[in-house]
Amino acid sequence: MELTPQRFRVTRADLVRYAGASGDFNPIHWSDRFATGVGLPGVIAHGMLTMALAGRAVTQWAGSADAVVEYSVRFTRPVVVPDDDEGTEIEVTGVVKGTTEDGLTRIDVTAVCGGEKVLSQARALVRTSR
């Protein structure tokens, strides 16, 4: 079963806010000079911010903020965030892959930005009722 796709906009302001909230102040997430100096196309989003946004889609689908029992992702490509008002957009889609022996629902998650997959092998196990 396919779940309703969700879209998340990410701007430079979001990266600054996430840096402060998470404590991850790596300059590749706020300095173009530093990011391009290490070979990136520009400032990129924290992988963990992308994982958190996809996690919001998962909790939305599960219908409860505390339903997630297991959650894992692989970061495949950087999410480049331009220094403008629009930033970029991440689209998160999910497919229900069945139920485990413990009665948990398995959801396979895909996150795409600019036509490229930014998360792969992303999956969550959720409780569907408490």
């Binding site: 806010r17 911010l49 996690g55 909790t59 505390d66 997630v68 894992s72 692989r74």
Partner: protein, 149 residues
């Protein structure tokens, strides 16, 4: 030089205690746009059966970051941090983290692998209640250390 695989199994005992603050959870939830009431409103959290506001699923990284830095900066691993890329991340929860939790982290090197000129390091962090040792969440982080160009 590839990472020394004999370091697999090395464990780093808990450092300090992390006290989870209500405002920190609210700040983290706001930063990821998670507006669900259980992240922000203690009454809503209590109605859902928790003692205080509930952290979003990826919040434990804010707790484990400083403990896993002990591993990354271990001189025996000799990691050049400028070549590090975050590869994989995984959480397995016993229960959600809530405000008021006092947590301790025990880190263990779970896997070291070299492939295609790159090194892969997986660190497992067991996050537990400081007072009782009750397990709360297990966090796995795989880092890729890119080889010399």
């Amino acid at each position: 030089m590839p990472m020394d695989p004999s370091l697999v199994g090395r464990s780093y005992p808990p450092g300090g205690t992390y006290l989870v603050g209500r405002e920190k959870i609210r700040e983290f939830a706001a930063a990821i746009g998670a507006s669900d009431a259980v992240h922000h409103d203690p009454d809503a959290a209590r109605k859902a059966g928790y003692p205080d506001v509930v952290a979003p699923p990826t919040f434990p990284v804010a707790v484990t970051m400083s403990s896993s830095e002990r591993v990354i900066s271990d001189p025996d691993l000799a990691i050049d941090y400028s070549r590090v890329v975050h590869g994989d991340q995984r959480f397995r929860y016993v229960r959600p983290v809530v405000a008021g939790d006092e947590l301790v982290c025990t880190d263990t090197i779970e896997e070291i692998m070299s492939r295609g000129g790159h090194d892969f390091l997986t660190v497992r962090t067991e996050v537990a209640a400081a007072a009782t040792g009750e397990p709360v969440v297990t966090v796995w982080m795989k880092l890729v250390v890119r080889g010399e160009d």
